[in-house]
């Protein structure tokens, strides 16, 4: 079976700054279950990239294995994609980023993919501060292999077969902050108005940007007792800092700021506008961010929004001090030392 969408484009479709319509950011028809949270996230990615006028061919999408990792087929059809192996997207992304620092990298993973088989690579992607957006489509279960508990399933959460999860769940946001990620956010697949700005801000962030998105699995984990179901999430959601991306060109007048709003400059001089909904939220304060995550957890609440942000971030290429030219664009002349040098090397072995 192959699923492809017709190429027909309605002439009246709105265009963005670079002349693309939203259809240009879509991909093949989704084969996920109807109602799967992952499809909403794909839609949010499409919307964010459309609004940001990203050139689709300058963005590379990478994923591991799982229902969530299938989604790159369903968005940005004009971008190169790499659906790698289970849990190992971060290493593939590392290589890709090393080869060409000039593309935009969007990684998509599942909670099984990231928090179990891929935990090691996830941790090291943060440690190396890859310049990428890393979205976890977190449904607390393994969708593709039919509903086993994942490592992010909360203790006591009940899966479809009625079994209670006896183990503690891993909080990827807390872990991300602990490991030094400078952009950490959580959202809910059903909350477009929050998710889209978060994706846009993450794409602007010059380093590893983690977005953990609660994305209920309608088929295997949308039952009573599951803490990753639609109902549970809606009932227990607690927003933190909501954000908006202010494009570079728009005029910024600080006067407009209200008490709870703050402008934060990103590396390309665009701004994100932060609306602090949670009374004692300061996303630039690591300790309070971690404290509030723990606090929310103890109250069975799910904090969403931008949880932690530090715009002062040195990405992998800066850390390694690699050339300004992308490594894949260096010419043979720049790379091959030539025969004379080789003769000298030979001499040193005599």
């Amino acid at each position: 079976m192959t699923y492809a969408k017709p190429n027909f484009r309605h002439p009246a479709l709105a265009k963005n700054e670079i002349g693309f319509s939203k259809r240009d950011y879509e991909g093949a028809l989704s084969t996920l279950c109807a109602g799967c949270g992952h499809d909403s996230i794909s839609a949010a990615i499409v919307q964010a990239c459309f609004e940001m006028s990203i050139q689709p061919h300058r963005l590379a999408k990478l994923s591991g294995i799982g229902c969530s990792s299938k989604t790159p087929t369903y968005f940005l059809g004009n971008s190169h994609g790499f659906n790698s192996v289970h849990g190992r997207m971060p290493s593939v992304a590392t290589g890709a980023i090393l080869a060409n620092k000039d593309l935009i990298y969007l990684g998509v993973s599942g909670d099984g993919d990231t928090a179990s088989i891929g935990m090691g690579q996830f941790v090291h992607a943060i440690r190396r501060n890859l310049n990428m957006v890393y979205i976890v489509m977190n449904n607390g279960c393994y969708g593709l292999t039919k509903g086993q508990d994942s490592a992010t399933a909360d203790e006591g959460s009940v899966n479809k077969s009625g079994a209670e999860n006896p183990f503690q769940g891993i909080d990827l946001c807390g872990l991300g902050i602990e490991l030094g990620a400078k952009f950490v956010a959580r959202s809910f697949s059903g909350d477009k108005s929050q998710l889209i700005p978060l994706i846009k801000a993450a794409l602007k962030h010059p380093g590893f940007a983690l977005i953990d998105v609660i994305s209920p699995c309608v088929t295997f984990n949308n039952n009573a007792g599951s803490t990753k179901s639609y109902d549970y999430t809606r009932e227990h959601i607690e927003a933190t800092a909501a954000i908006d991306l202010v494009p570079y060109k728009s005029e910024i007048t600080i006067d407009q700021l209200e008490g709870s709003t703050e402008l934060i400059q990103m590396h390309d001089e665009s701004y994100i506008r932060l609306n602090k909904l949670h009374p004692d939220w300061d996303p630039m304060d690591k300790f309070s961010a971690l404290r509030n995550l723990h606090l929310a957890h103890s109250k069975n609440e799910i904090l969403t929004g931008l949880i932690y942000l530090d715009t002062d971030s040195k990405d992998l290429h800066e850390i390694l001090n690699t050339s300004d030219t992308a490594l894949n664009a260096l010419s043979a002349e720049e790379l091959c030392p030539g025969l004379d040098v080789l003769d000298k090397i030979n001499e040193s072995y005599r």
Binding site: N78, G81, A99, L342
Partner: protein
């Protein structure tokens, strides 16, 4: 005891304690032989530990130019008390034992059939040097001096090497020169110098170099234009990436900005290392990794993806004994099957088999061309012996007019001109499709890389026929590759010879010598050296020509023989095995014994005892 004079033909073994600075002194000895124009083969025989345990260094000197190991030690420098009992046993009858006579020799170690040369090494050092660290280091130079006198070697050569070695620490030169003289003087005053075993300068090394395989692989990657290297430490492959890094620091720093035209990442494990290679290659950089057997196992899933999704990758596999950790500092050729068929599903990988450091350089560079040409993983199969020992070999060569073969990459202009692009479409009929590098064109040529089944346009499908069609195209690509692989080296091919030997990698050194020894017994054999898998057609026709072919390998299960039978459909009766797998480089004598006895027996000789003594 025989006193016939033997010139430029001996095996000398140094028995030292790991971590006492003996390595550089022993190296100095091998280098001096080389600089006297005499073919020399040094081998490190070292335990898997950092300090304190026995370590050996063996040097074979061969006027005839044989570069394999040879059985039997003529001279033993036994300065390690721990291994002394075994070291005494391992000297061949009529040989020499050089020991530190600062302490008197225990009579239980006196063998009637040996010559004993006692040099009070420690005592001489204590008399002439002040600090205790120097006593230990200079002791090594003292025995080198003694050897120079005993073997009648050119002292100036040693002096020159000392000056070069300490060029950056000039303070150390006088002391080393003094220690050298102490050894020379003591030997001259107390023994009949030279011994019947001796050295004479020759001009048998031409413009050859003395180089190490791993280093040559690292250099080859630099010349090939590799910009991304990722790895996880494992003996004996670690020095490949160390070498790459060293050469990159010398040759690849942008002089204007001080920035690096390369990126090296020590990965969190071998899995990640291979993932990075695939990500970088997919994105248009030349990338590689190096590992040994256990790492290959971890890389397997990605190797399968490389094969099926058609992503270039270069892997240097420096083989050691297996399975599992085996003896991590000993050599073997035992990853052949694991590498050839690594991964799940129908998968096979292109393997290259260098025999010399020169070929390590050439074939590593070639691996990058092949990886991009065939869009698949290329595994360069070397072993500890080749990787971590110096070998006398031809100088490295580079053709300045050579262009990198980037394979079938469709450019923006080609896409724009309306060329059909189907990622897995066999346009040229050779099984090799076109790829595009991410970021090439705004609306054309993007595709989705995945391990799931897909059609010619990279669209997901579970249609069985489409899957099978793709698998058959991959096979076609494999056959195309076979035609472009480095050809086997036909060393001897005489019509009248009914038997032949076939070998690869480091077995070549001993195999060549073995055919000469067999000649002397009137058993003339043809010989062929393999350089690649898939096998070029010459391999099958060579085997077909002979009634019997002996495959010489350093593993237990005759792994290359299996691959030959399987891939070339050769009757098992026609292929005999000579197998050695005790972790030591194979010797000519051993090959001859196997062929004479028509058996591939398990070697029961000295090296196994050596290994066992470590644990006693």
């Amino acid at each position: 005891m025989s006193q016939t004079i033997k010139v430029n033909d001996l095996v000398i073994r140094f028995a030292n304690v790991n971590g006492t600075g003996s390595a550089s002194a022993n190296n100095m000895f091998a280098k001096a032989v080389f600089r006297m124009g005499i073919p020399v083969t040094p081998k490190n025989i070292f335990p898997s530990n950092i300090q304190g345990l026995p370590t050996w260094y063996e040097v074979r000197v061969s006027e005839k130019g044989y570069l394999g190991r040879r059985d039997g030690v003529d001279i033993m420098i036994a300065v390690n008390a721990q291994s002394f009992p075994t070291d005494v046993k391992n000297v061949r009858s009529g040989g020499y034992l050089i020991y530190d006579s600062t302490k008197t020799l225990d009579p239980e170690f006196i063998r009637e059939d040996l010559h004993y040369i006692g040099i009070p090494m420690m005592q001489l050092c204590v008399q002439h040097f002040a600090d205790p660290r120097q006593h230990m280091l200079m002791k090594n130079i003292v025995y080198i001096g003694a050897l120079a006198a005993l073997l009648n070697m050119d002292v100036k050569v040693f002096e020159q090497i000392i000056r070069e070695q300490f060029a950056k620490k000039e303070k150390l030169i006088p002391g080393n020169l003094e220690a050298l003289q102490l050894g020379i003087q003591y030997a001259k005053e107390n023994f009949n110098c030279p011994l019947p075993l001796r050295m004479e300068s020759r001009d048998l090394c031409g413009n050859k170099i003395l180089a190490e395989g791993n280093n040559a692989c690292g250099l080859g990657a630099v010349y090939a234009g590799a910009t991304v290297g990722s790895w996880y430490p494992i003996t004996p492959s670690t020095s490949v990436m160390n070498a790459f890094e060293k050469w990159c620091h010398k040759l690849r720093i942008d002089s204007k900005t001080g920035k690096k035209n390369f990126a090296i990442v020590q990965a969190e494990d071998e899995l990640a290392a291979m993932g990075m290679v695939l990500g970088a290659s997919w994105n248009g950089a030349r990338a590689f990794t190096a590992t040994s057997g256990p790492g290959v196992s971890l890389m397997s899933e990605f190797l399968g993806l490389s094969y099926f999704a058609e992503i270039p990758a270069v892997l240097i596999d420096v083989q050691r004994t297996g399975p599992s950790t085996g003896m991590p500092t000993r050599t073997q050729q035992s990853d052949i099957l694991a590498a050839a068929y690594a991964s799940h599903g129908d998968t096979k990988h292109i393997l290259l088999f260098p025999s010399t450091p020169t070929e390590c350089f050439d074939l590593t560079a070639k691996a990058f061309d092949l990886a991009e040409r065939f869009q698949t993983a290329i595994i360069v199969m070397i072993d500890l012996d080749l990787g971590m020992n110096d070998h006398l070999c031809e100088p490295f060569q580079w053709d300045p007019s050579k262009k990198y073969d980037r394979g079938k990459v469709m450019t923006a202009a080609e896409l724009e001109s309306g060329k059909i692009f189907g990622r897995y479409l066999d346009i040229d009929g050779d099984g090799i499709p076109y790829r595009t590098i991410p970021g090439t064109h705004p609306t054309k040529g993007s595709f989705f890389t995945r391990g799931s089944s897909r059609d010619e346009f990279a669209r997901y499908t579970e249609d069985g026929d489409v899957y099978a069609r793709n698998m058959n195209r991959l096979l076609k690509k494999w056959h195309t590759a076979a035609k472009e692989m480095p050809k086997p080296e036909i060393v001897r091919e005489e019509k009248s010879n009914k038997e032949a030997v076939l070998y690869y990698g480091t077995s070549s050194y001993a195999a060549l010598e073995a055919t000469d020894l067999l000649d002397l017994q009137g058993r003339r054999m043809n010989a062929m050296r393999l350089l690649s898998f898939p096998f070029p057609e010459e391999v099958k026709s060579f085997i077909d020509q002979h009634e019997k072919t002996y495959i010489i390998e350093q593993n237990r299960d005759a792994q290359m023989r299996s691959v030959l039978m399987q891939e070339l459909n050769i009757h098992p009766e026609k292929l005999k095995s000579v197998l050695q797998f005790n972790g030591m480089p194979i010797t000519a004598d051993y090959i001859v014994r196997c062929i004479q006895s028509e058996k591939s027996f398990i070697p029961q000789y000295e090296k196994l005892e050596l290994a066992e003594s470590l644990h006693s």
